[in-house]
Amino acid sequence: MISKRIFILFLLLFFALPPVVLLIYSFAPVWNYPDVIPTKFGTGSLSFVFTQRNDIILSLASSFTYSIAAVLLTIVITIFPAQVFARRKFKGSLLLETILLAPALLPSMSFAMGAHYVFLKTGLSDSFIGLVLILSTMSYPYMLRALTAGFIAYGEEYAICSENLGAGFFRTLIQVELPLLLPSIVSGGTIVFLVSFSEYFLVFLIGGGIVPSYSGYLFPFLNSSELSIASLLTLIFLLVPFLLFLGIEIFLKGYYRRRFIQI
């Protein structure tokens, strides 16, 4: 039992200590060597965030919007391919499925810098749409994997049954398949959102500083001597996905209860 307690202590120190330190740093304007505990506390970083609230809210809203747009776009482009991979076995289907995972697996730099040229020529660079396209290209494999697993998990019978009862293609999709796929959409969407929301380099390359982003806003602070402000801004970075996922969790619980689905 003692070894288990020690393990939990280790777990908490390893994972929860860093955010706690960020919190302490946020309210310790001068926490310098060799103080193990800061000697002075203050709310300078809070008042900085407050005076900069317009920029911060704008960049957060922009990051949030392009990340959600990437989630929606990846659902649209992968839902039918996922259905095919889950239900139709044809020659080379496994190979094709593996090849299609490449954009998430290979370093994004290696295609993004070439794609930058294509985007320049087609007017997509420095634009919101271009950014959503590059983020979706990098992250659709996560959605494809999640949806394929989802389609495999509940089988084809629901769709066949619905079509036998006279529902058309789109009605089957929207009223039968999508609700059943919801857990997969959430797990795939979570990853696509996180990848897009925390991406710095592609946003910088394709967004070109024109599309505001929170990672772009935060970056200069991380390299500065303003450790207190950088800590608070990093905590804000954690807060957005945390609140979003909490909201989704609560929504899903209610949703399943209303539909009498047990999970």
Partner: protein
């Protein structure tokens, strides 16, 4: 015949980004590495970027450092991830809820992980203060130079913190399907904890460990953000060199950036090939995210 047309039609949405952004991006990277399609720049020698690269010592140093950092980041992430998930799995049901804290780094951006390493491991950072207070080091200069080290220690630390949770998620999913009674039986028959781990648990986890290792290795090999936040010393990782050649140097030297990217790409492809060999052995129903 009609059926295969339908399949092609259904696959087409994902083909659009794959062909027009991913593939065309790679093709353009390759062409530009040979000095083609480069805003009207003309090069006498189409292999000048590769010749430039392969005759420079920094390139080999940088490649070696990148491989070293990627390998040790991945190895340490896998070891700590397996250790932690195995121990969470063995916790009694009432204590398992603490395992949720291991999810924290998942929502932390890579640049945030780099920042944490600066806070904790710099010479004026928290660990340095703590070790002085404990009397282990006598001053700032006495603390080991983990940041800007020649062996990319700072980058490895940030990678491990960021990637351990990913390993935990993947490994834990497999552990959940492992029968606890196997361990109880082995224990009753007198197997030691070490023997149980190495003879029962580890073999069961090997397929997922292989997969996860290759995924993070390839990711670390080409990752840019953590080395960029931490600011590297010379020679620096390959991705930082790409950035230098792409943004900081003259446009006529851009083929060098693209040539480095091709090296990264070809190295990664080799690992992806191994990955696909490994994954094809895993049962299709196990391939959940």
């Amino acid at each position: 015949m009609k059926n295969s047309v339908k399949i092609l039609f259904k696959l087409s949405p994902v083909a659009v980004p794959f062909m027009f952004i991913f593939m065309s991006g790679i093709v353009l990277t390759a062409m530009q590495s040979f000095g083609l399609m480069l805003y009207g720049y003309k090069y006498e020698d189409h292999f000048f970027a590769y010749k430039n690269l392969f005759t420079e010592m920094w390139f080999y140093h940088s490649l070696a450092l990148t491989l070293f950092a990627a390998f040790f980041s991945s190895l340490l992430s896998v070891i700590s991830g397996v250790f932690i998930s195995y121990n969470i799995w063995r916790l009694p049901a009432t204590m398992k809820k603490y395992g949720i804290v291991s999810r924290i780094p998942l929502i932390l951006p890579h640049i945030g992980a780099g920042f944490l390493v600066i806070l904790f491991f710099s010479r004026s950072g928290i660990f340095s203060s703590a070790s002085t207070a404990l009397g282990l080091t006598s001053g700032i200069d006495d603390f080991p130079g983990i940041l800007y080290s020649r062996y990319a220690l700072d980058i490895i630390l940030a990678n491990v913190y960021k990637e351990t949770p990913f390993v935990i998620v993947m490994v834990y999913a497999v552990l959940l399907k492992t029968d606890l009674r196997l361990i109880q039986t082995a224990s009753m028959l007198g197997a030691s904890p070490g023997r149980i781990f190495f003879r029962i648990i580890l073999p069961a986890l090997m397929p997922i460990i292989n997969t996860v290792f290759i995924i993070i290795f390839v990711y670390n090999f080409g990752s840019f953000e953590i080395p960029y936040v931490l600011g590297s010393s010379k020679p620096g990782l390959l991705s930082i060199r790409v950035y230098d050649y792409f943004f900081q140097k003259d446009l006529s030297l851009r083929p060098v950036a693209m040539a480095i990217l091709m090296v990264i790409f070809i190295f990664s492809m080799t690992f992806v090939y191994i990955y696909s060999r490994v994954i094809s052995k895993i049962d299709i129903r196990d391939r959940k995210l």
